[in-house]
Structures are given as C-alpha cells and as structure tokens.
Assembly symmetry: C2
Homo-oligomer: 441 residues x 2
C-alpha cells in the first residue's frame, strides 16, 4: 500500500458545493493542512490522505463558510428592545438611548461574542462589522476564532467611544496598526452614512483606507430619506456625489444601496464598487427593496448581510438567503430572478469578493483558507433531495449546520461550539441586558 500524505483534517463523503469549478462533487472530500485547503475532489481520491481528524460527511452537504457581509454584532444585546415602529421613533427613543447609556468595551466584547456564537452555529465563518469600541469587537472575534472585517463607525458628531472625529481618525489608525497582521481580522475604515458624515470626513476616510490598502465601507442610500438628504444638500444622487468626492474605487463597499438609479449603477460598475444587501432589515424597517438583479446584470459584486440583530432580528444567513431569493422574485415580478445557486454564490464568494477577501475565502479551492460549513441533510424537511442548492437556500435552517471550520480549526462540531465557554457568554449577556433594561426605565 502506498504511503498516505499526512494532513490535519479530512471532511469526506458528502456532496461538496465548491462555489468554484467543478461546482458539485457528488461524493466529495476536502482536505486541510494547517489553515489551508490542500485538496478538493472525490472521496475516492482523498483516500491518498490521512489525518488525525476525519469528519464523516455522509448525508451532508459541504459548503464554503457563509459570509455575513454587514452587521453591527454587539447589537445582539439589544435584540427585540423595540420593534414595529417608525424608523426615527425606533432609533431616537430606543436604540440611541440604549447605546448612549450602555456602550462600553465590556458591552461590545460580550455582545460581539454572543453574535459570533450565533453566526458560527449558523455556518458563518466571516463577517463584516461596523460598530463602536471596535477594538473590543475585534478581540471578541479573534477569541471566538472567526474571520472579521472590522471597523469603528465614524460620523460628524461625538462618539461615546472616541469623542470628536479627529480622535476617531486616530482610533482608526491605531486600530489598523494593531490588527493589520492578524490572521483572522481585517481592519477597515467605516464612515457611517452620507447624512451623518461631512464630505471632508469621507475624503479623509478614503485616504486612510487607501494608505493602508483596506476596505472603505459606508451605508449608502439605505432609505428614501437618505437619498433625498443627499439630493437636497449636494444636488446629486448618492453615487454621483461620492464619485465627485473621489472616494469610489474597488475597495468601496456600499451597505444597503436601496435607492439607486441607473446612472449611479453605471458609476458603481465603472469604479468597481461592491454592494452588501440586507433584505430582511430593509423589509423590517420598511426601507425599500434594493435593485439586486440589476446590480448583478451590470457585473457589480453583491454580497449578503443580516444587518444588526436589533433590526432583523437575527444573524441567520440561512434565512437571509431564503428571503433574498424570494423577495426579488416578487418585487421584480419574475420568478427566475435570484435563483438558488446564484443566491448561495452571493452569500459566499460574492461576499468574500465584496470585502476584498475573494482570494482567501468564499469558495472551496486548493490554497484558500479552510473556512467550511457542513450541513446535515438527514432531516425530514431535507428528505428527499433533488437539488442541494435548492435545499440550502429554500429549505435548510441554520440549525442544520452541524460542523464549522474556520482557518482549519473546528469551531462547531455536532451543532455545539467546541472552543468556547458558551455558559459564560450567556451569563454575561443576561447581566448586560439587565443594565439595558434599567437604563431605559
């Protein structure tokens, strides 16, 4: 017998959806060494490898870890404090007061850990976070062993974290220096939105992002009000305005991008701007429906996000895929739009490319990081199975995720977090929620 090649981890026997080529391997395998994928192919060919950890994926579907392209992770601690309200009332009477009275490093650290727990258990291996006290958020993500694109939110007014915007730029510079070599964390620059950031702030943010070669991530045209604000103030549509400022480019990520016209889409395509769409949050806040099919027609890279848990109210990318697929069929009056495979692409490689991580993660290919989710299809709602893409997008739940690997390290096995003290996270979350409750009385 030939000597086998030694590796660290083998996942074998399931249907592998690579999100690359070939797209489906019926009885497939993925082999991992250190943090990297060293083999993707048939289970038979994977017999050439041996490893101390072998995950039997019979009756399972193996996919790249999902990419949650936009969230405010620590808002898990504010999930459900107020719902079903007009946006301004929701923000001004509940969210802003709760944040002003409660946010600190401790709150963000534990809230982010709680978010990571939910996301890992739902097959998410990478997410992009915009919040405050982001250094604590990044520590939480690193401690949980997830991959994060992290950025401190910047705006014209005083921040409960850094104070004035000059301090905000300093905080961001330090944040980038601190985290730029971390294997899991990608620092970024995240000005809040066009109605909360002066043109000078946006230009300065762009300079910092370009200097360090990191993403520049902004809420753009989330609501009709956002669009009208820019029109009134700058006499231009959002992307025409941003283009005039010179801040658009391949590292520019537009969160939401709901109220955008054809002229803007041409500019976005030309500049290489990416979009992260957040359908459930846009629905719940009645913000509108983004023109995702038209973005895709123009070749604009689209990723998918849940937004924060206060406006969704979950970080469930499995459910978000289902909604993405269905929403655009009905809003475009065309059932062929956003098909199942296209939606899984958006939620994996699409998000990875949008965040500048397309070479690192988002598909199962040799040389990429081993960011992998294994879904157990031996369930009544997934039996029989004619098409794995259809089942993943339209029928599977976050709770069907059985195993999750990030950068070669198993973080979820048998639906349980294996490198985390979950009880401690839950206890801290409950305690911090008591503080929130008191602060709102």
């Amino acid at each position: 017998m030939t000597k086998r090649i030694e590796a660290d981890l083998i996942i074998t026997g399931g249907i592998v959806l690579t999100m690359g080529e070939p797209d489906v391997i019926e009885s497939g395998a993925v082999v991992v060494e250190n943090s990297d994928i060293v083999f993707v192919g048939t289970a038979d060919d994977a017999e050439a490898y041996t490893a101390p950890t072998v995950i039997d994926a019979a009756d399972c579907v193996v996919i790249p870890g999902l990419i949650n392209g936009h969230t405010h992770a620590a808002m898990t601690l504010l999930r459900g404090i107020a719902d079903d309200l007009p946006l301004e009332q929701w923000l001004q009477n509940y969210i802003f007061p709760a944040e002003a009275r409660n946010l600190d490093d401790d709150f963000v650290y534990w809230g982010t850990k709680l978010a990571c727990a939910e996301m890992l258990l739902g097959g998410v291996t990478t997410f992009c976070d915009m919040y405050l006290f982001e250094d604590s958020a990044a520590r939480a993500v690193r401690d949980m062993g997830m991959r994060g694109v992290m950025g401190e939110v910047l705006y014209d007014f005083e921040s409960p974290n850094y104070g004035s915007i000059e301090k905000g730029f300093e905080y961001t510079e330090t944040f980038i220096q601190t985290w730029k070599d971390d294997p899991l964390i990608t620092p970024s620059v995240q000005p809040h939105a066009l109605d909360t950031c002066a043109p000078e702030l946006l230009v300065r943010a762009k300079e910092i992002a370009d200097t360090h070669g990191v993403p520049l991530i902004v809420h753009v045209a989330e609501t009709e009000g956002n669009r009208e604000y820019v029109r009134g103030k700058h006499d231009a549509s959002s992307f025409v305005y941003l283009d005039k400022l010179g801040v658009l480019g391949e590292n520019f990520v537009a969160d939401h991008a709901v109220w955008v016209d054809d002229e803007e889409m041409e500019i976005m395509a030309e500049r290489g701007v990416s979009v992260i769409t957040n359908p459930e949050s846009n629905m719940k806040l009645a913000s509108g429906t983004a023109p995702i099919h038209r973005y895709r027609e123009r070749g604009i890279t689209v990723g998918l996000g849940t937004d924060g848990a206060a406006s969704n109210n979950n970080l469930d990318m499995m459910g978000e895929m289902d909604t993405l697929a269905k929403l655009h069929k009905v809003s475009d009056a065309d059932p062929t739009h956003l098909g199942a495979k296209e939606v899984l692409e958006i939620a994996t490689i699409g998000g990875a490319r949008a965040l500048g991580l397309g070479e690192l993660t988002g598909s199962l290919a040799v040389g990429k990081m081993a960011d992998i989710a294994v879904l157990d299809f031996n369930k009544p709602h997934l039996t029989p199975m004619y098409d794995p893409f259809s089942h993943i997008v339209y029928a599977a739940l976050a709770s069907d995720v059985r195993d999750v690997i990030v950068g070669g390290v198993p973080r979820v096995r048998g639906r349980r977090l294996v490198t985390t003290d979950m009880d401690q996270i839950m206890a801290n979350a409950i305690q911090l929620a008591e503080r929130v409750r008191s602060s709102l009385k």
Copy 2:
C-alpha cells in the same frame, strides 16, 4: 397539605402566551386532562394539580400550537424538483408530469406523513390540506396524531384519483361521511380555483359544504392571471363573481387572495369570508403580495399558510411568520404594519377561526383542546430576551420548538417525534423519490 387535583399533563415554569386574556403569564402553567386544557394560569396556582407527566418549561415560551392554514402536504416528495422557473413552465414541465406519473394512495400517505413530521417538529399542531387521494392523507394525519382540515381537490378535468367530477363529488361525500366524527380530522370541500372550476362545480361544492356544515376552501386570485381570467370569462372581479354565484359565507376560506380590490374586500367582510395568506409561496412564484393589512382593517379573519413544499420550499411556520411580518412592512412602506403579536395571532387563533376551529384550538384557554408548543429560549440567538412575541416572530427558528402536544398527547419531546417511526417515513420517502426521478427522465 391539601389533596391535589389529578390531571394528565402539566407544563409549568415558562412564559405562557395564551393568545387570549391575559396575554402573557410570566411564570405560567397549562394543565391538561384527557385532550383538554383544564387550567391556564401561574405556576404557583398550578401547584394545586398533580399529573404523571410534568414538562419543565423553565427558560421556555409556551404558545398555542401553530396553524398551517394552507398546504398540499404530500408535495414534500416533490420539494426542489424544479425552482426559479416561470409558473407555467414549472407546473406544466415538472409538477403536473411528476404528479400524473406518481400520485397514488401510497405516495400521498407517505408524503403526508413526512409533512406531518416536519410540521410537528416545527410547532404546528393543525393544518389544512388540499390534495388528491385525500383519504390516504387523512389516514396519515390521524396516524401521526395531528389535527387536519382535509379536502380532495375538485376541478373540471379528469383527476388521477377519482376521474370525472361527478365521481369527485361522490368521493367528497364519502370522505365527509368517513371522517366527520374523527376527533382529529375535519373534512372539507375544496374546489381548486376559479379558472379550473366551472360555476356549476362551485355551486355544487357549496351545497355539499353547507349540507354537512364543513368549510368550503378555494384558491382565489392567487395570480394576476387568475384575476384576469375571471374578468375575461365572467366580466367581474373574483369575489363579485363568487358572490353572484351565492357561494360566499362564513364557511368560505379563500387561499391566497392576492389580487383583490376594495369592492371585493367589502363583500368578503360582509359575507364573513376568511383568508389564508401564503407569503413565501407568493414571493417565490412571483405571484404578488396580498393586501393583508387592509383585510385586517376591515375585520376579515386572516390565517397563515406555507402552501406546498414544492413552492416554498418548506412547511416552516416559524419562518413564515417572520416573512409575513417583514413583507408587509416593506410592501406597505410602513414598519408598524403586521407587528409581532399580531402575526402570532394570525398564525394561531386567526388560522383556527378561519378554518372554523376557533372554539376548539388556536389559543390556550380552559375548555379548548390541548394543542401546545413549547419553545426552548435558552439559545444564543434568543438571549437576552426583552419581548417574547418579538423573539418568536423575528428570531426563533422551527428548531427551537422542544415539545409539542396535540389534543393532550405529547407528539414531540426534546425535539424528537415520540410516537412515530421516523426511519420508516424517511426510507419510504427516499424510495418514492427514486420513482419520481425515473418518471421525469
């Protein structure tokens, strides 16, 4: 010590949402004797009872079993055979051929059992089914211990089950006689739709339904095409036409009712017609968005359904509630529409009333059937918890359902079906799917 009152089952220590008055009992209990609820109140007061089975609901939320108001249960066996296609292509090239070549009593029995398994595990205790070989469907539901409103689909053309429509009426009469005294099954009369049923069929169906005092259930105005058909053929809107035929009344249940105008809503309200809305199916097939908020404003009873698994693609009422709440906010451009509590009402007591079971089930009240779901809230995505209604609609998953009782009998305990041979159902489903695959080659 006072002698305790003997009962059969006690659920105690959780937050009880009765969907009646009082609406929330913080540390509550429900006591069951035989098939009925004999006590709803505080856990303290429930100390007066003793029972051989006590379910500890600490960290749980106790709700009435969910009512899936419209589905075609056995289509679980066709889930995912084709998606993302124009409606006619999907029906004519996939669904109709697959049905014509595969439907028989065996297919419907096992497909319905599979559907019941999925629904029970997701907290559904009652559902309404429209399909063929409905006697086998009813047997499956009874064998699974669920509550079902069941009806053989009737239309002008030949049925693979009964043949000509005269035989269809005979089948329906026999079906009603067979099942009318069953404690779990409510027979009904279910003409398919206005473009597949002649006026005479609808009138005759109404006579049969009224004679036996059972519901009359019809797909109405599901698509714009359905509406236009009726306009072209009968020179009237759908409900004006139905009203002229004299078939509307309090036992009339309209499935979908998407393309309906104000004049029709007035008629619906006046006649006491109910609506079952199926938002995910309407989205996936790009059929449109029903005017649910406006129905509710006019006092029209609304229930919620998943539709069949081939057009959703699941029977997950937890996910359907989330979508219902969000879809109408964005489509009405008003985030206050379809709030969390209102949505849970629609999915429980609303559906029960629509199906004529409002006195029997749909809320937790003394004298009603013990149809109960217990959700485990000790999960990262449900911690902390500020508002149980919000969490159930916007954050909880079908997999958070821990225990389910139907008519006093525990059918799910600890997320497992306890009175069913699940392996046998799965094995049969896989075998029948092989037949479907071959038939489509």
